[in-house]
Structures are given as C-alpha cells and as structure tokens.
Amino acid sequence: MAERERLLAGSASGTFQSRTRVMSADDVSRAVKRMAHEILERNHGAAGVMIIGMQTGGVELASRLAAAVTAIEGSQIPIGTLDATMHRDDFGLRPVMPEAATAIPDDPTGKTIVLVDDVLFTGRTVRAALDAIHSYGRPQSIQLAVMVDRGHRELPIRPDYVGKNLPTRRNEMVDVNDDGVDLGEMLP
C-alpha cells in the first residue's frame, strides 16, 4: 500500500510509524540505475519506450528512471503520469477521489510502456492502470517497474523490474521517501 492510497483512504488510516529502514537513499539510487540498465537491455535501447509514473507514488521514481535512461543512452525518453483512480475496482468500499493529473505525452499505440510505481502490493492499482492506459491507445507492450515488491498479490500480476523484493506481513506498511524505504505500520 503506497503513500497515495493512504491519502485516499482518508483520516481513518492514522500515521505511519517506521520500524526498520530497508533501503537507504544510496540503495535506492543504485537500484534506479540498475533498473534503467535492465529496461534498456530488455528493449534493445530506448526507442519506442515511454515511461509512465503512477500517481502519486510512482511519479518521482519514473522521473529518476527517465533521467537514468537518458544518462546512459544520451537521448530524451518520453515520460508521463497516470492517475488510475477512476479505473479502480473498489468503488463503494473506500472513498476514492482522483486528485492527481494524468499526462500521457504521446499516443501509446505501438509503443512500449514502462509503468512505474513505488510499491507493488495487491496488484489492483496496476490492474486499474493497465485498464486506464488502454483508453489512450493500444501499446505494443506494457512492462512494470517498482521499487519494492512486498508480495500479497491478489491478481496475476508480476513486475518486470524490481528495486527490492521485501517480504512483509499484510498489515505492515512500506513507505518510499526521500531518505530511502522504510517498513513499519500505521498507528491509529
């Protein structure tokens, strides 16, 4: 459960209390570089690749990945943002309010989209994003990059690029922030 979803869930979720730092800021930087290399390797370069950061937790990571790709390849890579709130499957179960901007830089038809999020948990947000992307066009393929895969998938979704695999308990919370990645829980 990413930062975004806690915001969406409203006041009832309480405050995040960190227990362990599982990645330092440097660890994150290294992971970003590695993932950028993997993206380029898998796609034989940056041509036809578009990086889309999922609002709100994936936006920062997406721009870091894009910068890393540019640093390696020397060419600009299209980058966008996506808010998949309106495609979620849990309406009526929780309050949901689309509040962040969606900006798809180009027609995704025929492109390779790298969807980027900070934490992969149940997979429902990614499912919503896959749905949302298709209302803009028909990409050649969609790949998924996440900083942390914490398990507990509820849908048949797996990431293509992972910063760190982190076994968690279901009620724990993973927080990706400027100083790295923390594992902890929500206090009421």
Binding site: G10, A12, M86, F91, L93, P95, V96, D107, H134, S135
Partner: protein, 323 residues
C-alpha cells in the same frame, strides 16, 4: 476534505447551489479537471460508475441538458434509463410520487430531474432512496449549470475572488440567475444583476448581489458578462415593450462588447437569441466562451455523478473497507 456537503453521510443530493459551500464547490471544480482529461482520451470512458443505473426524469424538454448528462453518464460507464414525458405514464396523469416510487422500485442509484415546477426535485428526493440531481426546476435552481459556469470562468480567470460578474437579463424567470448569483458570490466574486425592474424579483433581501438598470455603467469593470436567454414570449407580457428596445438597453451590442476589458469573458447558458440579448457578431468573438461552457458541462456532470454515486465518500468511516 472537510467540506460539509461532500462529507455528508448517506444518500446525497444536489438540489441547489445553496447546498454547497465554497470548499465543496472548489473540490467539485478540481475534480472536474480530472474528468475533463478523460474526455480528451481516444477512448473517453472510465469504469467508475460501472453497475450503477441512472434514470432521467425529464418533465420538460431539454435536449441539451439531457445529452450532456447522458454523455457524462456514458463516459463513467453508468447504465441509464429514460422516463421522459411522452415516453411513459407521466403523461397519463400518474402522480409525481407514483412515478418516483415506480422508478425507485427498479433499483436505481441516481435520478436526474428536470421539472417545470420549483421544488419538484426536493420532493423526489423525499420519495426515493436514490441520489437526486436537480437538472433545472422551474425558475428555482440549476446547480450543474452554475458549476459548469464557475468551472469555465475559473479556467480563464484563475481565481474568482474579487472578480466582477454581471448577470444580465430576465432574472425573475431564470434558474440560471438564481444558481449563479449564489455560486459566484460563494466563490468570492461580486455579482451585479442587470435588468429592467420588471424582470427582477420584487424582493431581493438576502441576495448576495448588487442591482443596476444601467449596463453601460459597469461594463468597464466586468470580468464576466453573463447574458441570460430572453424568452421571446416575454414581449407583450407587460415586462418589456419590445425585444428591439430590450436589445438596445440591455443587449450586449458590438459597441458594448468593445468596451469590455480584454480579459473579460462573455458567457451564455444557451440557447442564444442572437440579436436580442447578444449581438450575433459578439457571440462569435474569442471572448465568448459559450461552446466551451457546453463542453465543460459534460466534465462537471461527470464530477457530480461520480461524487454522488461513485466516490464512496459515504463509506469513509467504514473501517472494514479500508483494509
């Protein structure tokens, strides 16, 4: 997200701009931006209201408003059904309550009501378990029109605080005027009603407005010049001597439009009577954002339908749901 109307528990209705406070309006307008983006996609449809059913209960013909709501509902993947007069028993003397209870029995989630009588949507909301949206009731209110006008004006003027809007024309018989007088003033704008005394309500105590009978006096100061449709049949109803005289005294002529500031907007709820409340040429100037209002109407109605039927804001305190 502490707004009163937005955070109200249980079935929520949008009956009047009086229901909303500034915070509510701002949140609706912010949300509208998200939905405007949906309209720009190659497939402008999201599943947000999949499985929800919305009934149109239109006792007055209004192709424009109904199409706008219909488009909004379809973009949200809602199912819709139509109880418009002429296609159902409402034409056969069935009472409003019986009609509403019939629709309600079919298990619908929202009812969008247009009625020639003020207050009819309020009555519907008392007889139905569904969320009720007022799509215009007599001379009383038309809240989604006001929201789309606010959205359009805010889009161009950025902030409505301290801005000056004139609402010009037949105030007495206008739900748009009643809605916008509330809407714009709640957003911090100064509202001036401009009309001959015969087209102004007899008592304006408590209205957050100023009144003038002289459009020329305030033209220079305006940020928005909002023209109301002049019902052609008012001529000869002892309210204006002739439409020609009305146009000369209260119409936005080319000469008057020239005097507006460069940034000032010309707005109209449609349909226009070119040559009556607005000179034909003026309606086509860049400052006239009239078709933009129509386009924004769909986005605003998506936001309203989503808030009432799909946002789940009423389950905010349900801890089980927030797993």
């Amino acid at each position: 997200m502490t707004a009163t109307w937005l955070r109200q528990r249980g079935p929520k209705h949008l009956l009047s701009m009086a229901d909303l406070d500034r915070n509510d309006i701002e949140q609706i307008l912010n949300l509208t931006e998200s939905f405007a983006e949906v309209g720009e996609r190659s497939i402008p449809r999201v599943p947000a209201l999949r499985g929800k059913t919305i009934a149109w209960l239109f006792y007055e013909d209004s192709t424009r408003t109904r199409l706008s709501f219909e488009t909004a509902a379809k973009r949200l993947s809602a199912d819709t059904m139509n109880f418009s007069v002429g296609s159902s028993s409402v034409n056969k003397g069935e009472s409003l309550r019986d009609t509403v209870e019939t629709i309600d029995a079919m298990g619908i989630d929202g009812i969008v009501v247009r009625h020639g009588a003020a207050g009819a949507p309020h009555q519907v909301s008392q007889w139905s378990g569904a969320a009720v949206i007022n799509a215009g009731d007599g001379w009383h209110q038309h809240p989604t029109q006001s929201l789309l006008d606010l959205y359009t004006a805010r889009h161009h003027l950025e902030d409505l605080e301290g801005k000056h809007i004139a609402i010009v024309g037949d105030i007495t018989h206008s739900r748009v005027a009643r809605s916008n007088a509330l809407g714009f003033s709640k957003m911090g704008a100064k509202v001036t009603l401009v009309a001959p005394p015969t087209l102004l309500p007899s008592a304006l105590e408590g209205w957050p407005v100023e009144v003038t009978h002289d459009l020329d006096e305030i033209l220079d100061d305006l940020d928005v010049c909002y023209l109301l449709r002049m019902q052609l049949e008012r001529q000869g109803q002892a309210v204006v001597p002739s439409l020609r005289e009305y146009h000369a005294e209260y119409g936005l002529t080319s000469a008057r439009a020239d005097r507006l500031s460069d940034h000032a907007l010309i707005m109209h709820p449609g349909p226009m009577n070119r040559g009556v409340e607005i000179a034909g040429e003026v309606a086509d100037r860049p400052a006239a954002v009239i078709t933009e209002q129509v386009a924004n109407g769909v986005s605003v109605r998506m936001a309203v339908l989503f808030l009432l039927l799909g946002s789940g804001l009423d389950v905010v305190d349900d801890q089980r749901a927030i797993a």
